[in-house]
């Protein structure tokens, strides 16, 4: 990183040695080389901001010095002022006047800085101690322009700023806000900050502060929403996109899923919309039934119970069970029949669950946990008129799956001491797994 006090390397004849002291007095950090070869060594080792090289300093001539220095990538753009007797060849002529030397040095440093400003790298480092926003803030405060190049685990990316505002971003094949929000969510990798760099075009128009806060919100919300979707399951469109009212994000989603089955990650990658917008749209479309899970996918790879939990359930519930006999039943209840129906549909995606009937209520499914551990899933009918029937069906249930809202089921607390677990419409397996876990903790049947 460029230091605030420029470092000068001077290789002068003894007659001009006083210049070094003068430059120090003017606030420069000065390294003194006794001759040309030492100057070269010191230049390579210390990478000064500027070299003052006397043609007569000895051991190494100025042409050789130039050739070697320019061949070094790190030093190729380092300004070198030559001191000689021929004004046509040298930058400064002898005898040196210290004040002119200072003017020439300052002018050369300014030129070098301007040159860097035209696209030269200003700073590089690793992310971690510094966040991406920390890196952008100085440019934002100075209302400057530049670009930040990032090498992150999600790919190579660039963020462009113009007059203190973020104007565009790119990450792999993504441009604009999708790229920006993904990059701002990164906390690992390395970066190069360039104080200039014209963006290819402007795709982002929101204010800097809004974008930074929005990126943080989207990161949190995305994590939460992804948690509600089965990661490994494949989704497909359940309705023809042409029959759906126009809403860009939704129609793009349905277009993508029409005739194709993709996982959440594939869907998010396939659409050029911010990730959160894709996931929110997917979740919404799934809940209203426009997008469905491909049967047989879901959490098929995961067992609902461990062998040990299965043994506990068998011991507690099935002491006298015969082959193929259900050990007990689990009640499923909720205020809205449509949501209960969808919850049962979500449960049916578990390979262990077999739907038994098309009936709205009663024993609607069987859960086969293997080794004879079979449980019936019994849906309770809602509504005051059917409350006696619901009480009958609830009687003896060893567990309860609630599909929110379940305001109308306040009496359950007094009618049953069975453990209850809330059932998520999307990830039903998690709720079921939680309930089975709690069944193992319930004291033996009385």
């Amino acid at each position: 990183m460029t230091e605030q006090v420029p470092t000068l390397l001077v290789a002068l004849t003894p007659a001009e040695a006083g210049v070094a002291a003068y430059l120090r007095e003017r606030g420069f950090r000065v390294l003194v080389a006794a001759h040309g070869a030492e100057a070269l060594d010191m230049a390579v080792a210390q990478a000064p901001d500027l070299v003052l090289f006397d043609e007569e300093c000895g051991v190494l001539d100025v042409e050789s010095f130039f050739r070697i220095v320019r061949a070094n990538a790190r030093l190729s753009r380092m300004p070198v002022l030559t001191v000689g007797r021929d004004p046509k060849r040298a930058s400064l002529t002898k005898p040196l006047r210290p004040d002119r030397v200072v003017l020439a040095v300052e002018a050369a440093l300014a030129r070098a800085e301007r040159a860097a400003g035209r696209g030269e790298e200003l700073t590089r480092g690793v992310l971690g101690p510094l966040s991406i926003v920390d890196l952008l803030q100085p440019i934002r405060v100075a209302r400057g322009s530049g670009k930040l190049v990032l090498h992150t685990p999600v790919g190579e990316g660039t963020i462009w700023l113009s007059e203190g505002e973020i104007v565009d971003a790119r990450l792999g094949r993504y441009w604009g806000k999708k790229a920006l929000f993904r990059l701002l969510a990164c906390s690992e990798g390395s970066f190069e900050l360039y104080p200039a760099g014209k963006p290819p075009s402007r795709r982002i128009y929101e204010p800097f502060d809004f974008l930074v806060l929005e990126a943080a919100r989207q990161k949190d919300e995305l994590a939460e929403q992804l948690h509600q979707l089965p990661a490994r399951a494949r989704f497909t469109a359940a309705v023809d996109p042409r029959n759906v009212p126009a809403r860009p994000s939704l129609s793009w989603l349905l277009d993508k899923l029409w005739g194709e089955a993709l996982t959440v990650r594939e869907i998010v990658d396939a659409l050029h919309l911010p990730d959160l917008e894709v996931v929110t749209t997917l979740l919404w479309a799934y809940r209203i039934g426009w997008v469905q899970l491909v049967p047989g996918q879901g959490d098929s790879g995961e067992e609902l119970v461990t062998p040990e939990l299965r043994r506990v359930l068998l011991r507690r519930l099935g002491r006298n069970a015969q082959r193929g006999q259900a050990l007990a039943k689990i009640a499923v209840l909720g205020d809205e029949p449509e949501r209960v129906r969808r919850a049962l549909g979500a449960l049916a995606r578990c390979p262990q669950v077999q739907l038994r009937a098309r009936a709205q209520w009663g024993t609607v499914a069987t859960l086969d946990l293997g080794e004879g551990a079979i449980l019936d899933l019994v849906a309770l009918p809602g509504g005051e008129e059917l409350a006696p029937l619901a009480r009958f069906l609830l009687g003896g249930a060893v567990g309860i799956l609630r599909v929110e809202p379940a305001e109308g089921w306040g009496w359950i607390a007094s009618a049953s001491s069975a453990p209850a677990v809330e059932l998520d419409l999307v990830d039903a397996a998690t709720g079921l797994r939680a309930l089975l876990g709690r069944l193992a903790d319930v004291p033996a049947e009385r």
């Binding site: 099935g318 082959r323 007990a328 009663g362 019936d376 009480r391 009958f392 003896g396 060893v398």
Partner: protein, 290 residues
């Protein structure tokens, strides 16, 4: 041998031993507590009078004692369902039944030690007002009970479909077919047309209770847990009903298949117990309790 009244001391020792055996060997036992409705000296006289008649309704293995104003009956090898059915039989057959309150408690289903069971039985006896729907129907015969139920304003009449009764019947059968279900009884009559569909729910293994199915000629497909009851054609086509009674739940659904096609239903233990008992009385299906 007719059971006799034992001394309280013998009863307590027998109760303790029976519960210890139930704990050790996973057996069942239930306790019945009978108290007189009026209190004081009249109560003592009433309970003594009842005790003599009551002994005639008990099994040989049952043990009873009089302690103050309480008649305590220990029913070995009996669950809550058996105790409920005995309660119903006492209320039906005892001349003094109207002046009695009866509470039952079963080992494991209600509690595990003597004090706990006595407490629960005493509380249930105190809550037994005898004025519910079952109390009103008790003196009537089975079919008269059904007619009264469909006409009674105590239960709201609803437009219950035959499909709903069929599904309730199927659920009653499934309930009896689950391993953890404590013993139960179901009575099913679905207009004489849909029994085949209902019996599809019947598993090959034994049920944890008995299923009575109203059947035109009483000879349905054999099953170790099913009793086919030859119900008269005219009645079979008139009513659809399901009665389910178990320790943990009870349900009655009854539908008039006639012009109005309205029905009633309730999750009422007393009512289910009464209707199951009356049905068995009407068709000579008396079983040993327990």
């Amino acid at each position: 041998m007719v059971p006799r009244l034992e001394s309280p001391r013998f009863f307590d020792a027998f109760l303790a031993r029976t519960l210890a055996q139930a704990r050790r060997y996973g057996r069942r036992a239930a306790l019945l507590l009978v108290v007189a409705r009026p209190e004081g000296e009249d109560a003592k006289m009433a309970i003594r009078g009842a005790a003599l008649h009551l002994l005639g309704l008990l099994r040989d293995a049952d043990v009873a004692t009089l302690q103050g104003e309480e008649l305590r009956v220990l029913l070995p090898e009996t669950d809550r369902l058996g105790a409920q059915l005995l309660r119903e039989r006492i209320l039906r057959h005892l001349p003094e039944a109207a002046s009695l309150r009866i509470g039952a408690a079963a080992y494991l289903e209600d509690g595990v030690d003597a004090e706990e069971l006595l407490d629960i039985a005493r509380r249930r006896a105190a809550e037994d007002e005898g004025t519910g729907l079952a109390g009103k129907l008790r003196p009537l015969g089975f079919w008269e009970c059904l007619r009264r139920l469909l006409a009674d304003a105590d239960l709201p009449r609803l437009p219950l479909s035959p499909a709903m009764v069929r599904t309730a019947a199927r659920e009653a059968i499934l309930e009896l077919s689950r391993a953890s279900t404590v013993r139960g009884i179901a009575v099913v009559c679905s207009g004489g047309a849909d029994e085949g569909e209902i019996l599809e729910a019947l598993p090959v293994h034994r049920l944890s209770g008995r299923l009575f199915v109203a059947w035109p000629d009483g000879s349905g497909p054999p099953h170790p847990s099913v009793t086919y009851v030859p119900v008269e054609e005219e009645r079979l086509s008139r009513f659809d009903f399901v009665f389910f009674l178990a320790g943990h739940s009870a349900y009655v659904v009854l539908r008039d298949a006639g012009e109005n096609a309205l029905g009633v239903h309730a999750a009422d233990h007393d009512l289910a117990c009464l209707l199951v008992s009356r049905f068995r009385d009407a068709y000579g299906l008396r079983e040993k309790i327990g």
